[in-house]
């Protein structure tokens, strides 16, 4: 029994300076380069653990410009076996529907895939829609927002799915699609050996001619949604009142205000 796993990953900009220092868990500001969507590392880690248990092969899949190779290399350095980059002008401007369509066609082309893993959402557009869309196009079961996985036979898996105020245990058979929460695991760091090996691994680049895709369903043409405008909301600072003096004095003053507002 061995598994063929595809992990879909995406590179996100750091323009919002969203990067977490893995040690201090602080936000750090970094250069201009894109980074791997943080939740996708949890998806890769989940794949690596399934592979450790059942054997098999992990293929990374990403749709985006050439420089997404940086992120694919990083995934390879974590221990994945191969990578496919879907890159073409025709794919550009895709919304979630067109993205999900192209990814699902690529998964069909890869063939004999048992499991497709996603991060729970991206940290830029933040939709969490691509996993379920791919699942629908493949007509496979989906289990989203998963925090735990237990595989019994390789082909039957039990997952814990966390909702806002309840938890579900879901049993499913492969092939299937899973989206992974951060709570699921702690992603491993690339070992020097894996980093070195990752440079020997080949990243295949496919465009629309390598896939069987309907030209009306890809890129801008295949995207029903349009971003009409984008702006940075001006947050008006509240007019804050500073409490002065020792803690005791400040609290007495505060309590007067709280009482006046019927808050105590």
């Amino acid at each position: 029994m061995s598994l063929k796993i595809v992990v879909c990953i995406k590179q996100v900009p750091v323009s919002n300076n969203l990067k977490i220092d893995p040690i201090t868990k602080n936000l750090i500001r970094s250069g201009e380069q894109g980074i791997m969507n943080p939740y996708d590392k949890n998806a890769i880690e989940a794949a690596l653990r399934l592979k450790d248990e059942w054997g098999g092969e992990i293929i990374l899949l990403s749709m985006g410009p050439q420089d997404f190779e940086i992120t694919l290399r990083e995934g390879l350095a974590m221990g994945c076996d191969g990578a496919v980059l879907l890159s073409s002008r025709q794919f550009g401007g895709a919304d979630t529907l067109a993205t999900g369509y192209v990814l699902s066609q690529a998964i069909k082309k890869i063939g004999n895939v048992d499991l497709v893993l996603f991060g729970r959402q991206s940290v830029d557009a933040d939709t969490s829609q691509v996993g379920p869309i791919v699942s629908e196009f493949l007509n496979w079961p989906q289990v989203t927002f998963v925090s735990e996985l237990h595989s019994h036979s390789g082909k039957t898996i039990t997952a814990t799915r966390l909702l806002e105020n309840m938890q579900q245990k879901i049993e499913f058979q492969l092939p299937a699609v899973i989206t992974v929460r951060r709570e699921m695991n702690e992603p491993r760091y690339p070992t020097p050996r894996n980093i070195q090996q990752s440079y020997k691994k080949d990243i295949q680049v496919w465009d629309e001619n390598n896939l069987s895709v309907d030209p009306d369903r890809i890129g801008v043409k295949g995207s029903p949604t349009i971003v009409r405008s984008v702006w940075a909301p001006e947050k008006e600072a509240k007019s804050t009142k500073y409490l002065n003096g020792s803690a005791d004095e400040a609290i007495r003053e505060l309590l007067i205000e709280l009482n006046a507002n019927n808050l105590l």
Partner: protein
């Protein structure tokens, strides 16, 4: 066109309609103009949740009753929704941007080949277009999204963004639909559902919250905060770094990737005020913050600010209210 419909997917967990459903009904009624507000409810035969929904005054509730709906999976619900959609051609469909909404809606979107905007913070109609305002890049930017050429227009909406209002005299029509094809999902089943004695549920709904950050992560400070919380009847929430502390978990986290809180009173102790955190507190009525750094951004979000030490502040508070 006057008989256009705005649909709302009624989300329920362990037999209770989720508040976001009611919030969406109120909002939809507000923006509907001449469109009808229709709630879609799937429930087991022994349930009558339509009675609860009616209190919020939608024009119509479409109820599908079937015992298999007790633990239906995402794809089963998406199939039923797709069938209904094909029959009645709604103008728009709204979901809560909850785990369930974010799982069913895109599956339905793919079936219908239409657009879906996630996690909206505002909705409005401009003629026939649903203008969907959503945040991106960790709530640092906002964008307006439309879906001009495809129907239905679909959106998921962040819980607690709109207030729900009950209506006294409602004229809601209840329509039972019982001739849908229930296509049972293969290879996946829900084998157990357990309500989480949800701490997250309680901070999300709490009237008073004491939030602790890395500047309040000492065990001594945490126990002072717990004592103050007991005295004030407050719940404790935390920033992300504190979810690593053995006392707390992701459930207790406030912010973009945690809970949105809406208390009357929020006390931030030792919290810096990163945008990923403040996103989750903007709907609080009165905000008090304590930080030793006079330049901490959290003060910009606060009604009252105290520059000082977490421990001193909590000790002082407990002493004064003895």
């Amino acid at each position: 066109m006057t008989d256009q419909e705005i649909w709302i997917y009624a989300e329920k967990h362990v037999g209770i309609i989720q508040p976001v459903t009611y919030q969406l009904i109120t909002k939809a009624k507000e923006i509907a103009d001449d469109k009808k507000v229709v709630v879609i409810l799937f429930e087991a035969t022994d349930k009558n949740l339509e009675n609860n929904i009616m209190e919020y005054g939608p024009d119509e509730i479409i109820v599908v009753k079937d015992d298999r709906l007790k633990d239906a999976t995402d794809s089963e619900i998406a199939n039923l929704m797709a069938e209904l959609t094909k029959r009645r051609q709604p103008n728009s469909i709204l979901f809560g941007a909850t785990v369930v909404g974010r799982s069913i809606a895109p599956r339905l979107q793919a079936k219908l080949g239409t657009g879906l905007t996630s996690d909206c913070l505002n909705l409005a109609f401009d003629d026939d277009f649903l203008i969907q305002t959503k945040p991106s890049y960790g709530d640092n930017i906002m964008c307006e999204i439309i879906c001009p050429d495809h129907r239905p227009q679909m959106a998921s909406v962040r819980p607690n963004t709109f207030a729900a209002k009950k209506i006294s005299n409602t004229t809601t029509i209840v329509t039972e639909v019982n001739d849908l094809m229930f296509k049972e999902a293969e290879r996946v089943k829900i084998i157990e559902e357990t309500p989480l004695l949800s701490k997250s549920d309680s901070i999300a709904n709490a009237d008073r919250v004491i939030a602790l950050g890395r500047g309040a992560s000492d065990d001594k400070v945490i126990s002072l905060a717990e004592e103050l919380a007991r005295k004030l009847g407050a719940k404790i929430g935390v920033t992300r770094p504190l979810t690593d502390h053995s006392k707390f978990s992701g459930e207790d986290q406030i912010g973009q990737s945690g809970n949105t809180v809406t208390p009357k009173l929020l006390i931030n102790v030792g919290i810096h005020g990163a945008v990923q955190y403040t996103t989750g507190i903007e709907k609080s009525e009165l905000i008090i913050s304590i930080n030793k750094d006079p330049k901490a951004p959290i003060f910009k979000y606060s009604d009252f600010s105290y520059v000082g030490d977490s421990k001193d502040f909590l000790e002082g508070f407990l002493k004064v209210i003895q």
